[in-house]
């Protein structure tokens, strides 16, 4: 590309050091350096500094990784350590987010649709969170369930989905338009998250069968069981979610 006769520029000395020149130009620069001690001294310094910087930064590559670093499927224990440490903060931010979420939920049509919408918004808001996905982690499951049951005024359960590949991450209290709501979050080995949204006084009493809805790419099965409405939400196919909903329903219905 560059003719041999062209003078070597200052910037090309760096490209030379960094191996960014083609072979022909590399030879030109080598020849240039032979007759130019000042340029040769620069290149020697650039090289020496480059090697020394590499040496200075090399230890970072072999440092053990802090446990808090990782993709969303980092081990549950590591996640819990982080969450426990930030528990006080979580309570505050959790409340604030819940309140904001409630504001978004107002425009709802039928009672069932309202619950679906609330569940989808809560799912979309909290499942991407790595640091603060839940207020109380699964390591304090008993406390979590008691607390949420007290606030919602009904006995809740966190279903066990381990056989289906999902482990409890934890849960949080949310504010729904007409009262409290709870969200339990689960995660599989691949980092996929599933949420079970529970709300009191879903607008109608009794028992309903599963209903299915999709909103913003989130699949939801919802049903009503006495004073509680449930919505199981996840970004997956209807059939995948249905299998999980069956497991949840069987456990909650006793």
């Amino acid at each position: 590309m560059t003719k041999p006769s062209e003078p070597v520029s200052e910037l090309e000395l760096h490209a030379f050091v960094d191996g960014q020149l083609d072979e022909a130009r590399q030879r030109d620069v080598t020849a240039h350096l032979a007759g130019n001690p000042d340029a040769a001294a620069r290149v020697a310094d650039y090289r020496a500094h480059k090697e020394a910087l590499k040496a200075a930064f090399a230890p970072v590559l072999t440092e053990p990784l802090p446990r808090r670093l990782g993709l969303p499927t980092a081990s549950r224990r590591a996640l819990h350590t982080r969450w426990a440490a930030a528990a006080a903060v979580l309570l505050v931010t959790g409340g604030a987010l819940g309140w904001q979420a409630a504001g978004m939920l107002r425009p709802a049509a039928a009672p069932g649709a309202a619950v679906v919408h609330q569940a989808v918004v809560a799912h979309a808001v909290f499942t991407p969170q790595k640091r603060h996905p839940v207020e109380v982690g699964a390591d304090q499951e008993a406390h979590l369930v008691t607390w949420l049951s007290n606030v919602l005024g009904a006995p809740l359960k966190a279903p066990r989905l381990a056989d289906a590949g999902y482990l409890l991450v934890g849960g949080r209290l949310l504010s729904a338009p007409d009262g409290p709501a709870a969200q339990f979050m689960y995660e599989d080995k691949g980092g996929r998250r599933l949420t079970l949204y529970v709300v009191t006084d879903p607008g109608q009493r009794g028992k309903t069968a599963f209903r299915y809805a999709e909103e913003k790419g989130v699949a939801v099965f919802y049903w009503i069981d006495g004073p509680l409405g449930y919505a199981l939400a996840g970004k997956m196919t209807r059939d995948e979610l249905l299998k999980l909903a069956d497991v949840v329903y069987a456990q909650l219905g006793r």
């Binding site: 960094d18 960014q20 620069r42 310094d45 500094h49 910087l53 230890p59 802090p66 969303p72 691949g190």
Partner: protein, 175 residues
């Protein structure tokens, strides 16, 4: 998906190293890496398989850092002061002193540190590094030039490098 996870996980040490050149405080640097991982994971659908995942991850980390720095209204700030504890291997008496070079590096303006780290330490091509920093290759090269020249000056004249004046001139050149 598992392969992609592994590709990302493989880059974590490299992302940490780059973050340490941007933010000297280890905790803050790791926060930046974690933010980068979360952002990347939530945007995996935007990454096209087969394209350069390293450049993609470094770009995310760089943008997060730039945005955070903009929010804090400070760029240069505490980097130099916090830079003292980078682990460096012991150096031979007659070799170029790595710790002094690191101290000099820490005095560079951040854009020059970023460019030099990507090229000299991470050994990216000029094109790849320019893409990460979202600047033209010419701008990248001039940052490298100014940064390396400044390093030469600082190493040749430690008096210009507060805190290390007492060590004298032997730190300058290898020969």
């Amino acid at each position: 998906m598992p392969e992609v996870r592994q590709l990302i996980v493989d880059q974590i040490p490299h992302l940490r190293r780059y973050a340490r050149a941007l933010v000297a405080n280890r905790e803050q640097a790791d926060d930046l890496v974690q933010d980068c991982l979360e952002r990347a994971w939530s945007r995996m659908h935007l990454w096209r398989a087969g394209t350069n995942i390293r450049a993609w991850l470094f770009t995310i980390l760089h943008n997060l850092h730039v945005n955070a720095a903009r929010r804090r209204h400070s760029q240069a700030g505490p980097f130099y002061a916090a830079a003292a504890d980078l682990p460096v291997p012991p150096t031979q008496e007659d070799e170029l002193n790595v710790r002094d070079l690191w101290q000099a590096f820490a005095r560079l303006p951040e854009p020059q540190r970023a460019a030099i780290l990507l090229i000299s330490v991470e050994e990216m091509s000029y094109g790849e590094a320019a893409a990460v920093l979202d600047i033209p290759v010419g701008t990248l090269m001039s940052r490298i030039h100014r940064g390396r020249e400044r390093l030469r000056d600082l190493m040749a004249d430690p008096g210009d490098n507060p805190g290390h004046g007492s060590r004298g001139n032997r730190l300058g050149r290898k020969r």
